[in-house]
Symmetry: C2
Subunit: 254 residues, 2 copies
DNA sequence: CGACGGCTTGAGGTAAGTCAATCCACGTGG
DNA sequence: CCACGTGGATTGACTTACCTCAAGCCGTCG
């Protein structure tokens, strides 16, 4: 996977060669490796650089007074962990690598410079944050109005789509270094109930889980089980610039 | 209440006279009135202008295939409804006025011009969207890991704080044109259960509800019931510019 | 080998849901 | 002035999806 950051944004726009080169530079400047279960940034901290997931799976989470944990979002390659550090004094939640992760640390200063030099980049960047926000809203709908089976199906289907968005070679499976306890903390359920619900999705022939990898066996079935409606990902390309290269956008994602 | 938009952003920064004047102009240019239960913008629509709540209470919501509704956020004066229209082709959710609302319709073009003319406004504007996003995450924690009493207490306490943020004269009560059915759709509960839970909060002497107005009788008690932690609102002012007027920020919010 | 983390299973409990009726304030039309 | 309809709040009786507790299983690793 070349640069998942540009790949993600190219669902929305087409970059000039120079734009893409500058983004690639930023993404390869300071590469970091995180071990499974290692925090990338913690609640209350501030960092002069923001973090971009290059490979692996991470999550946004918050710890509760009673020791509980709520996972608010899964981060796939191409997602920014903490764009808020440009503005806010400290993080109001933490980010943790679930499996082994490659991460680019991007100095805030460089992003500011890039936005000045290459004004065409601001919009795709903003689009990315708006998509992230829409993903949060989708989670709210899940937690508020759907049962366990729908919640889990929705998360899995969404992660599949978001993976395929940044990796045109991906098939219907993806790495999933997520314990059932993690999934419980993301869906607002208990481990026990997640276990029984996953069993059911497997029995129904919708998914298979093996060796920390999920395979979607019946894409339409899983989509229906999740009542998945893709509009919130805003994958309809906005710019219709006739000069632009047609190629990059991944088709047939949903 | 003068201009709730600047009042909100002044929790974060201090504007120059000229900045404030320009913002005031935008907020008063095209004033609209919405009746209770009237949609301000609907899922699937696009609008050339974005909407700012000047007075009243509105909500972000999404309709589900089965006819259900999930309210994802309450909008108080000073909140932008649909900043995404600058970027995205269409809304992925709807906004509805809960009570009578005064709304400013701000042409996207004017915002772009303002950002170019007055660069100092970009950061406070961005801060606003980041706060909105943090409010969404708080809702996820609520829905995922808290029981009915905590959820309702948290929403009420948060709305109180956000009101006080934009209205220094506000006491411990606020307009609440929200039916128990609305509150059920926001908390992921049923009307029946919301009813019993509200009764309990009243019996405990934490709140009183009368004539579409909530009065918080025991602020500390409600805060504890909600396990409210204010850090996600990022009310610690970031800029420490010594030239700035000290006055505008509202103290003792929490 | 034992310890451990993650998965699985069973039995029993509870917060919240469902269904259905009643009450009350209101607005409206005859 | 009253009968009526309506939307919202309230209540009771019953059901259920999900939780709790507790044990057992299995592969991995030191």
């Amino acid at each position: 996977m070349a640069n998942p950051w540009t790949a993600k944004m190219e669902q929305f726009t087409t970059f000039s060669e120079e734009d893409r080169r500058r983004l690639d530079d930023l993404a390869s400047l300071r590469r970091q490796h995180y071990e499974p279960r290692q925090d990338i940034i913690r609640e209350g901290e501030h960092s002069p650089e923001c973090h971009l997931v290059l490979s692996g799976l991470a999550c946004r989470y918050k710890l509760l007074p009673d020791g509980g944990r709520q996972i608010m979002a899964f981060l796939v390659p191409g997602d920014l962990c903490d764009a808020e550090i440009f503005i806010l004094k400290e993080m109001d939640h933490s980010i943790c690598a679930l499996g082994p992760c490659e991460v680019a640390a991007i100095p805030g200063e460089d992003v500011r410079k890039l936005l000045l030099d290459r004004p065409g980049i601001a919009l795709p960047l903003w689009w990315g944050t708006l998509q992230d926000e829409a993903v949060l809203r989708a989670r709210i709908v899940d937690l508020g109005r759907r049962d366990a089976r729908q919640r889990i199906a929705h998360i899995l289907y969404e992660v599949l789509v978001r993976h395929r968005m940044v990796d045109a070679t991906a098939d219907d499976s993806f790495d999933w270094p997520v314990t059932q306890t993690d999934l419980a903390d993301a869906t607002g359920l208990t481990t026990v109930h997640v276990n029984r619900t996953l069993q059911r999705l497997r029995e129904e022939g919708l998914i298979a889980v093996e060796d920390w990898r999920v395979t979607v066996l019946d894409r339409a079935g899983l989509r229906d089980a999740a009542e998945f409606s893709p509009n919130y990902l805003h994958l309809d390309r906005a710019t219709k610039d006739p000069r632009s290269v047609p190629g990059k956008r991944v088709e047939g994602l949903i």
